[in-house]
Each structure stands twice: as C-alpha cells, then as structure tokens.
Amino acid sequence: MTAVVPQAAPAAATPHQPMVEAIEVHKRFGSLEVLNGVTMSVERGQVVCLLGPSGSGKSTLLRCINHLEKVDAGMIRVAGETVGYREKNGRLSELREKEVATQRRKVGMVFQRFNLFPHMTALENVMEAPTQVARRSNADARREAIDLLGQVGLADKAETYPAQLSGGQQQRVAIARALAMSPEVMLFDEPTSALDPELVGDVLDVMRALAENGMTMIVVTHEIGFAREVADVAVFMDGGVVVEQGDPRQVLMHPAEERTRSFLSKVL
C-alpha cells in the first residue's frame, strides 16, 4: 500500500530501474518462516534504514541481497540483474559459483562482527580483493588502499593487525575493505551493534560521509538517530514482512502502525 515514492517520476519511456529490488521474497530456515513476502525497492543514491525487532528478518533480507542466503520464493534484483540466477526463456537456472562471485563485486557488505581477516594487516585486508579478485597491480591497489584508509581516518594504522585495533577501528577498516571493490551498493548489517558506545560515533561519521557522497546504502541498524538524520527511507519490519516504510521523519516520529509505535517506544 505505501510504495516507496521515487525521487523523480520517469520522464521518458525508459523503464525505471531501481538499484535494488526485492519482489515477494520468502525465506525459511527449517520450519521458521523468516521472510514472508518482502517487497521493497531502493533507488540509486538512496539510503535505506531497515529497523525492527530482532528476528524480524532484516539481516536475512540483507544477506539475501548478497546471495549469502538463497531465497525460497520471489526474487531480488541488483542493478537489474537477478541475484543468483539466470533468466532464460522464462526459466531460471542457478548461476555458477564464479558468476555469483562476479555479481557480488557490485555489492559491498559490512558485518556486525567486522570479519576482518586476522592474519593480514589493515592495509592487506583492504588490498586483498582488488589484487586477488579484480587483478589490479600491487602498486595501484596499495595506493588506493592507503587512500581509503585515509578516508576512514586510519591512515596511520595501515601496518596494524586487526587484533591490535579497537572495535570501531576494525569496523572502519571493514568499510574501507568493502569500498575497495568500488561497489554500487553498500550493505551494513548492524555495523555498530558490537561496538562500545563511545566508538559508535566514528563509524556512523564514516557512514554519513559515504551517504553524502551519493553511495546507495541499505543499513540494518538500531541507531534511530542515525536513521532519522541520514536515511531517505525508513523501513520497519516485523515477523518477516514490511510493516511500514516511507520518510523516516514520518515512520519514526509519527508511525501509522501500532507495531511500529510499540517497537519505537521500547528502543527510544
């Protein structure tokens, strides 16, 4: 009923193509229905915040966009391409692992638990995908990695191993690592939930700067303040469905749905 209002209506006859599109997505783990028909779309350059109680399916939806989980029904498109499948004559066939890997290069992902490679320095973490996947030269990758580490405020930590970095620093390295592949969309899976409160601000600042630079972002978060301030669209999920979505001021300040209201009263 409340469809995401596109910034500008398609002027010409060119088909309108969202950056990320989920259509009636279903996902179950055993008998547990985690996603129960989720439909949403994200425009290029938009920042979408996914909110909702734990177990509502936000993280699972994010992982489906990256094909870390396979959807059971419905489909997800990133930049017009069906995630994980090839459509031919109306039939779907699974992509090969290499092709999935190629698709994933368009999508950067930041995890709650950082998942930095502990046996590599911060610089090596950021350089790993450009040199190993994109086959860029060591010198180029190094220059870009140093630049990216500078952007997240960690130029002086290039030679440091993750174990010697604080949580906030690790998460910023993880953001730089994801950015190194020049993704078209960035997915953030509760990026500040594992951080000490005083370290959250640095990570949110980096994300805010990314949003201002026009990066398309889907952020699963409990940071209501960040959502209100940075997001173009707030999506409230519960029980595997989208309960309410729209302008964050509307959804977060004057929610129309009772479920949204009761959730917000608990977290605020």
Binding site: L68, A101, T102, R104, R105, M109, F111, N115, E124, A163
Partner: protein, 328 residues
C-alpha cells in the same frame, strides 16, 4: 550502638592498619620456605647421578663402538633414507590430507563418504600391518594391468613386485597412513575458522577455491601446525618400522649391523642419538611456522609464545611485518 566501647580486637586492627600505612617502599619480607621441593630435588639428583654412574661404568655400554658407528657410512646412509622417507611421506600426507579433508567437508555425499571410508581404513588398521601389506602387495595383485575392464584389451601391464620395491612400498604405507591422520587435522583446522571469514571473502567476490586458499587455510594453519609437528616426529620414528620390509633406513641398517656383530646395545644407542638429534632439529621449522602463521593473533600466544620467542630470537627470524612475504 553508639555507646559501645571499641573492643580490643578493633583497636589492634586499627593500630595494625596505621602501622601498614607507615610502611612504604619495596617489601622486605622473609620468603616462604619450600623444604618439600628441596628434598624432592635432592632425591631426583641422587637417582640421576646413581643411574648415570652405573650406566657409564657398565662394560656392555661399549662407548668406543658407539663412537665407531655414529658416523659410519652405513649409519649416515640410513639417516639420509630416514630423513628422505619422513619428508616424502609427510609431504604426500599433508597435501593428500588437504584433499581428503576438503572431500570430507564437501556437500557431495559420494565425496564425503569416500573420504570417510579412506580415513576409516587407514587410520583404523595398524601401520605395521599396512607396511607389511604394501611390502607383499605382489602376493595379492601379481600383475598391474591398464586396459578396458571386462575385455582382453591391455594397454600396459607390469609385474607388481618390480613396480613396487621395498622403498616404494614403505613410502606408500607411510604416506597413505599419514594422509588419513592429516585429513582429520586439516579438517579440524578448517572448521576452527569462523564462518564469518568465508562470508566476508565471498562478499568481496572471492571464489570458493580462492577463499579456501587465501583466507581459510592460512588461518587454519595456526591450528594445524602443532599437531602436524607431532605427526612429523611420530613419522620420523615410524620410519623405523620399515625395517620389517627391509628398507635402507637408519633402523634397518642398525639392525642389520647388530645381527652380524651382536653389539645390540651400543648400536641401539647410536640409533637413539640420531633419532633424538633429528627430532630436536625438527622443532626449529615448527617454531618458525608457528610464528609465521601466528601473525595477527597476539592474544592467543601469551605463555608458550613468549617462551618460544625467547628461544627463536637467537635464531634470526624474518621481521614480523616483512613486506616481502606479503607481496609474494
């Protein structure tokens, strides 16, 4: 409550407290004595001296013979074969073990069941039995034929006994046996790496094979190396079983010598000295590897790590953040 007089005990406590506050600077206290430890140490020392004296005075020790055989070509050739056999079967074991471990973890049931069967057979039967089996494989399969089954078409055929001499039989037995053990060690190592590492690598667009090689295995190595060090030492000693199928390893040669001259004890001492020397040398590459793959894991190496590092600092090691290594 307010009217109660301060009891003697609280008064003495207060005076103690004030006395403690006065004392500053380094503590000079009478150290605690451990008489039990001293008595035990003296007893151990006495037993050691006593047994050393009786061994050295024993005429059967025959130190001149030990000295004579320690560097004889017969011994040295045996040492070379032992080292070669250990190295070859460990290399075969480790690389084969990685393959079997990956098969074992494969979602394909045929591959994983095949790996399980392999491990079940080669880990579940004595190494000595396997050695003898490969040594007498010619009795079981006299001829090896490459051709089309159920037809008389033969491309190539060979006498098994010629194809598999004693050394190859030994290598087969040791290598296959080691593969089964190594597979389980590698599997444990792979499974010890957090699933999030694989997801992070995949999200960066790395293929499963590259994820295994660049991300998972290097981290698994930290868990794999200590038991592999054990395996290598066990293997070095297990090569002595080759004597049963008449290899040319250290133990076979020593056995051959003492069956001729009956100087059993001195020759066993020669072998023991060499085995001890070789196992001691083996701990050096293990320390180096543990250091190499321990990079970035500071917390996990507190007690043993610091002890190892004091040992390894005398042997010059590449710097922790060597850029050449990361570039390769």
């Amino acid at each position: 409550m307010t009217a109660t007089q301060p009891s003697p005990t609280t008064a003495s406590l207060e005076s103690q407290r004030s006395g403690r506050a006065d004392r500053q600077g380094p503590i000079e206290a009478v150290p605690l004595r451990h008489p039990g430890r001293w008595i035990a140490a003296i007893l151990v020392l006495l037993v050691f001296i006593g047994s050393a004296a009786s061994i050295l005075q024993n005429p059967n020790l025959d130190l001149p013979t030990v000295g004579e055989y320690l560097f004889k070509p017969l011994t040295l050739n045996g040492v070379i074969i032992t080292v070669w056999l250990t190295a070859a079967s460990m290399i075969a074991g480790v690389f084969g073990g990685i393959v079997v471990a990956v098969m074992r973890l494969s979602p394909n049931p045929v591959l994983s069941v095949a790996a399980m069967l392999f491990i079940w057979v080669f880990r579940g039967t004595p190494l000595l039995l396997q050695l003898i089996f490969w040594g007498f494989i010619g009795a079981f399969i006299p001829k090896i034929v490459v051709g089309i089954p159920f037809t008389s078409v033969e491309f190539w055929s060979f006498e098994t006994s010629q194809l598999i001499p004693a050394t190859v039989a030994a290598l087969l037995a040791l290598g296959l046996n080691e593969m089964a053990y190594a597979a389980e060690i590698v599997r444990a190592g792979i499974q010890s790496v957090d699933q999030g590492q694989t997801e992070a690598a995949h999200s960066l667009g790395m293929s499963p094979a590259k994820t295994l090689r660049r991300i998972v295995l290097p981290q698994a190595m930290r868990v794999i190396i200590p038991p592999m060090g054990n395996e290598t030492i066990t293997m070095l000693k297990s090569t002595s079983l080759v004597a049963i199928v008449a290899g040319d390893d250290l133990m076979s040669n020593i056995r051959e010598a003492y069956t001729q001259n009956y100087k059993i004890i001195p020759l066993l001492i020669v072998a023991a000295i060499w085995y001890l020397a070789l196992t001691s040398i083996l701990s050096i590459p293990q320390m180096w590897l543990e250091r190499r793959y321990g990079r970035g894991f500071t917390g996990a190496r507190t007690t043993i790590g610091s002890r190892v590092s004091t040992l390894t600092q005398s042997i010059t090691m590449p710097a922790r953040s060597s850029k050449k290594e990361s570039a390769s």
